[in-house]
């Protein structure tokens, strides 16, 4: 069985290995350049141990191929679409299933061996891409403290490997259910990006209860490290957030609604379109107004990686389970 897997996938394996090698070369070349830039810019403060992060004024040049890094989010989709989806669908479409499934190997075993190797390949390819991108992003993560941000979080650490497992399983299941390569390919593409979008946009922030910190309107406060900011704003003296709704609410600087400024503070300065003056801010503080930040602290980065990886691995396992049920129950 393994011989057949090797014989059937040695060309895709060679092609994707070549692409991976080319990608690795690009990543190493541009990554070394970025690392050099980074050290040139912040080397002195690193040596003196007095760097201030995020280094907003530090612009690290991605080089001409930097955009490729963003596109690595599509690597799992490509694996699922072009390797996973045809696994069963092409056997049915071309009829070769009738040959291979009447040899002295049950469909279940045929599927187990194929799925095993393809998932392993997805893990390896996704893991390699993830490792390369994580290394490449090191200086940027340090400078911008953005590792936890949606979009960055998704292409680093163990996420690419987990997404690849999921996308491969999704492709395999879609192919087994739909039994036609092209529609299965489409379902894999939209399924992968759809599920990921929902989890990134609405679910990830709830993995752990976010931390909310309140502090004086007159001060600035930033949590340590690469935290993930979920919300920020002002809180009134009664604990109520100033209502910011409707189109005719004029917002003064710092996002504070003009209508909420107490009468006593209005005299301190002009309102409308400008930053609050220092006196106005002090006045707001005296009247019991506070600022707040809601965020996921930086030290939850790895717990979040593992929670999200766990979710996608569980989804992959469920999809593979469906595939086994389908291949056994349905006529081949």
């Amino acid at each position: 069985m393994t011989w057949l897997v090797w014989r059937q996938y040695r060309n895709p394996a060679a092609i994707s290995a070549a692409l991976l090698a080319a990608f690795a070369a690009l990543v190493v070349i541009t990554g070394l350049h970025i690392a050099a830039e980074f050290h040139a810019a912040v080397g002195p403060c690193l040596a003196a141990n007095d760097c201030r992060w995020p280094a907003d004024n530090l612009v690290l040049d991605n080089g001409p191929f930097g955009f490729i890094i963003e596109f690595t989010l599509a690597v799992p989709a490509v694996l699922g679409m072009f390797i996973g989806a045809p696994l069963v669908a092409r056997e049915v479409e071309t009829g070769t299933g009738q040959f291979v499934w009447t040899q002295a190997v049950t469909r279940r075993r045929w599927l187990a061996v194929k799925v095993g190797w393809l998932l392993l390949a997805a893990l390896a390819w996704g893991g390699a891409v993830g490792a390369l991108v994580t290394w490449w992003s090191g200086p940027k993560n340090a400078a911008y403290l953005n590792a936890f941000d949606p979009g960055t979080f998704d292409v680093q650490g163990i996420m690419p490997a987990a997404y690849s497992l999921f996308a491969m399983a999704l492709g395999i299941a879609a192919g087994a259910l739909i039994r036609r390569v092209l529609p299965a390919l489409g379902v894999t593409l939209f399924g992968y990006f759809g599920v990921r979008l929902v989890i990134m946009g609405w679910i990830r922030q709830h993995y752990m209860t976010p931390v909310t910190t309140t502090f004086s309107v007159a001060t600035n406060y930033l949590p340590k490290g690469a935290f993930w900011l979920l919300a920020q704003g002002f809180r009134g003296p009664d604990g109520r957030l100033p209502a910011v709704s409707g189109n005719n609410v004029m917002i003064v600087g710092n996002g504070f609604p003009a209508s909420e400024v107490p009468a006593a503070c209005v005299t301190h300065g002009p309102l409308g379109g400008e930053m609050l003056g220092a006196q106005t801010i002090a006045c707001l503080g005296r009247h019991g107004y506070l600022q707040y930040l809601t965020y996921q602290p930086a030290d939850r980065y790895w717990p979040f990686q593992f929670i999200e990886a766990g979710i996608f691995v569980a989804l992959a396992a469920a999809l593979i389970g469906v595939t086994f049920a389908v291949i056994n129950r349905r006529d081949a």
Binding site: W3, T96, F99, W101, T102, V105, T106, R107, D331
Partner: protein, 302 residues
């Protein structure tokens, strides 16, 4: 025939959403025979073969293949060789790749004979099978099915796309395999080409309109049936003594195909032996849907 049956189905029925592909099919193929599976397109031939391999499962009824139910079990799968319609093989892989794959997928596998057979037929082992001719591909498919050394070989219209010479080669390979197996191999072969089947088959299964019309030893079936040619007249007397399978009437003459219930005594009719082709056509005509009925009773006057 006291031998055990290689295939025995009881009320085998397969329904798809589109309709019934096979209904209430009960057939028996004794071990060691070459059975011709014939019938018009859409009669259920492929469905029957797929049910026997276990690739499809029946809606109702049951099949016993080599004494067991077709199932996902290496022991069962090892005993059957199946060549599906249009010979589906991996187009990019070579015959040699297929033979090696077979060796990995089967405990019992005669790769040496397979290579020898293909070399004898001058079929290149190292070229992608997608680049071979239809006849060569069919031979590769058959060779792979035979390499399993199956006890039951199921072939779905393997010669349909072949030219006469390739067909002759293909059927020659089959009869050689039969002789080699010395009675331990049973073949069920579906085809439209009755002349070819007549040459090598000794058993017949006739399907039409998803039902079994006829099943049995070809010699016996031919013996039991007679063609009567005579004047066009009332056939009540004939139908009382025999089973009238099919009648073709022209203005003055009637040709009746009957399953004899005894000797034919009406001197008005001339009795003739029936050929396999006429037998098959008579039953297919009898089972034809109303829309085709006028075709099977050409020249009939109302």
């Amino acid at each position: 025939m006291s031998r055990t049956a290689a295939v025995e189905t009881t009320g085998l029925t397969k329904r798809y959403r589109r309709g019934t592909a096979l209904s209430d099919c009960s057939v028996t193929v004794p071990e060691g025979r070459i059975s011709a599976l014939v019938g018009p397109n859409g009669a259920g031939k492929s469905t029957l073969l797929r049910l026997l391999t276990g690739l499809a499962r029946p809606t109702s009824g049951s099949a016993a293949v080599l004494g067991g139910t077709p199932r996902q079990d290496p022991g069962f799968l090892a005993e059957i060789g199946y060549l599906a319609q249009d010979v589906p093989l991996y187009r990019r892989l070579s015959a040699e790749d297929h033979i090696r794959a077979g060796a990995h997928l089967n405990q019992r596998w005669d790769g040496a004979s397979a290579r020898m057979r293909l070399r004898q037929l001058d079929i290149p082992l190292d070229r992608a099978v997608g680049t071979l001719s239809g006849g060569q591909r069919a031979q590769v498919g058959l060779t792979l099915a035979l390499a399993k050394q199956p006890r039951l070989l199921l072939l779905d219209e393997p010669v349909a796309a072949l030219d006469p010479l390739a067909r002759r080669h293909f059927l020659g390979t089959l009869t050689a395999a039969m002789a080699e197996a010395e009675g331990s191999l049973t073949i069920v072969l579906s085809s439209h080409l009755i002349a070819d089947l007549e040459r090598i088959c000794d058993h017949l299964i006739l399907l039409a309109s998803s039902r079994v019309q006829l099943c049995g030893d070809i010699e016996e079936l031919l013996c039991e049936h007679t063609v009567l040619i005579g004047p066009r007249k009332d056939t009540t007397a004939i139908e009382r003594a025999h089973t009238l399978v099919h009648a073709t009437r022209t203005a003055r003459q009637a040709t009746l195909v009957i399953r004899r219930g005894g000797p034919v005594i009406d001197p008005a009719y001339q009795a003739e032996d029936i050929s396999l082709e006429d037998l098959v056509l008579a039953y297919m005509g009898a089972a034809a849907p109303a829309a085709y009925a006028h075709l099977s009773t050409v020249g009939e006057e109302q």
